[in-house]
């Protein structure tokens, strides 16, 4: 009997949480299509990776793997790439915001 009660309890809990998104009666805020959100997310990921590259380059300079001249040219290139990503990110966010409206 205890076993069957346990199974019933687990099943009941599982059905409750699995069906929750389907039962939700709240008016969902209209969000931008996943495709647009995905573009924003991809650009955010690219931005984060670029920041990491900039930080890594600075660490490479401080630990002697890069000369000041090498670091300067690399840093300039990385920042230019980062700015490009930021502009694309701004544009993607604008498109997503416009689509929500």
């Amino acid at each position: 009997m205890a076993g069957y009660l346990l199974v019933l309890a687990v099943v009941g809990f599982a059905v409750y949480i699995v069906s929750a998104p389907l039962r939700s009666a709240r008016a969902r805020r209209r969000t931008a299509p996943d495709g647009l959100l995905e573009s924003v997310a991809e650009l955010e990921a690219a931005r984060d990776a670029k920041y990491l590259e900039i930080t890594d380059a600075e660490l490479d300079l401080r630990t002697g793997k890069l000369s000041p001249d090498d670091h300067r040219s690399l840093d300039r290139a990385l920042r230019a790439e980062a700015i490009e990503i930021l502009h694309r990110l701004d544009a993607a966010r604008a498109r997503a915001a416009a689509d929500e409206r």
Partner: protein, 751 residues
Amino acid sequence: MATAGRLLLILALIGAVYGLCASLYGARSGAREWVDSGRRAMYSVALIAVVAFVILDVAFITSDFSYDIVASGSSTTTPLAYRAAAVWSTQQGSLLLWVMLMSLWASLALFVTRRRVREIVPYAQATMFAFTIFFAGLCVLFANPFATNDAHLTEGAGLDPLLRHVTMLMHPPMVYSGYTLLLVPFSFGVGALLANRVGAEWLQVTRRFALAAWLCLGIGIMLGARWSYTELGWGGYWAWDPVENAALMPWLCATAFIHSMMIQEKRGMLKVWNASLVLATGCLAIVGTFLVRSGILSSIHAFVSDPTLNVSFVSLISVMVIGSIALVVFRRDSLRTEARLDSLLSREAVFLFQNLVLVALAAVIFWITFFPLISEAITGTEVSVGPPAFRPFVVPLALIVVLLSGIGPIIAWRRVTAARLRRNFAFPVAVGTTTLVVLAVATDATAHLLAWVMFGCAAFAIATVGQELARGTRARAAMTGAAAPVALLGLVRRNRRRYGGYIVHLGFALAMIGVAASTSFQHQRYAFLRPGQSAQVDGYTVRYVRPTVSATAQRLSFGAVLDVTRGGRHVTTMQTSYGLYPAQDPMHPIGRFFNGSQESEVALDSGPLRDIWAVIHPNVTPLQGLIARGDQLVSRLLLQVSSLPASQQPAELNLAYALRDQLIRVLAQRFVTHPWASQFLFEVSPLVMWLWVGAIVAALGGLIALPPLRPVRRRAGAARRLASAVDAQDLAAGGKAPQPAGLVSPERELV
């Protein structure tokens, strides 16, 4: 509760099927609520699997022999910890463990990514459900862990004595965690390809799971090696056994993937390579799971072979391989790289070369491991391969990996000048060269050329890590004014990924020193000794002081106390024994102890410079006559008792068993009172301790590297500098460019 357990398994299977369908429907229709429902179905499946596993484990702990696998895999005399762990010593229990771990890790991955990579997650979710359905289906249809019997047994067959070792408590869960965690990046790789979102984001969200998989699988492999070294009685830690290789191959590919994903994250390169690598790694994880329970290759690790499982696994592996190839080919246009390699003198180039070597290593091991099957299929002739087949290929490739693990950290990304290279390489090359020269002059290391070169490469790699830590600490101390230890801690804490990786390299180099020394310079000696006699091995004198014996109803043990001296000076006293466990053999009440399971208790004296290892293989032939007479006597007595009235039998049976146990003790005591020569294996292995130390250091490095990258808002320094660069560019262009309406400026957004 067995019925409840079986019902829960069926419910887990149904829940996984629902989750798969909901995920795919949500992916195709864009209805997010179905994807969310599918995610919650995975949480539910995980909960159900945990409850089912707990029910089964409680059955083992309470010795409920109404469960078939408890009766066959445990006993009332098995210690509690091993009773709890015995569940994964069985085919059925290990499959349930697989289902539980798969659903738990999948739940964690889906929870962490619930608001990210929204186009990828539904397909990744569906893939993880597919694996859950497969393994839950095996449990429901072919390998029911909750099968019961009506035999009313009061005792079980017991746990295989070889598995009564502390490392066995964690080895299978660690290896299975590694395999199941590898399926997370596999699933997200499939999802990225299906959704045609093959940028770096899917790598970012799965990186920590790939690293966790690498860590768990590596720990599992090392626990298995430790078990082999201290339990199996052959004196080694790696036998190139097919199941060992099956765990090593995905670990090597995961190592390559962890490095190559960095290149895609930073440079957008190697998309095809990363996609192929992560899919291949997932396939190898399933191959490893298949090998341990298929019996297609002879292995000490294998469960009893089940042909129905073999067909299922081969089908799954075929679908995975064909599907992976098809996906990569289908998405080849999207997987085109965005950038080119700037220079061969760059960290990208080193990582790429290292990837090729690691994958080549995995491929070589795969080919040699499966060669017996391939040969038999083609020629009809069965061949066997052993360790000598692997060494000519594995050792040179391992040398290159160690060398590259030292080169990678001291080369910058994108490109580095020759002058800068000379400056960065000077110290490590000096250390490596000095090591080679000193070893060549002061030792006989050059007698084993590859080992000698390995020592030099490892010293180079260790020096590299030391140099990086020292320079980074100096730089941070200069920036912050902190003392060196504080600066070092701060350096590692703020750059966990980089310096965690360096510590892993350090651990790997230490481990390879241990491997090279202990395999190439090991001294081994077989000897037949009576008490008082001695044997020489590598300058040590090992004297057989006295025999030992222990006899209980569950175990018979013959052992020896050994005294080790060197140059007349006492080094250590050790004890080794050989355990005999009775078989289920009512025809031979005494003899069953001598034809059942056996295991060795190794004598081990470990030190930083050498291990002294000894094991006894007692010869029981002198006892055979007495065993046979004892069997006749006890069997006759039991026959007489069986002819007595039923009311008298219990008391007489107890007397008969007491006599049997007394006879066993008397028999065993003859090993002490009338000792004869026993065979010993002695080994002196230099530096083997550094294998274990290196593994611990590498695991520590993996743990340091494991936490996620810092969130954006903490990178204010980089953000402000970047914003000022934007302003400078705008000023150079003749004033501030007008911001488009609705846009947030980079500075405000980043800070």
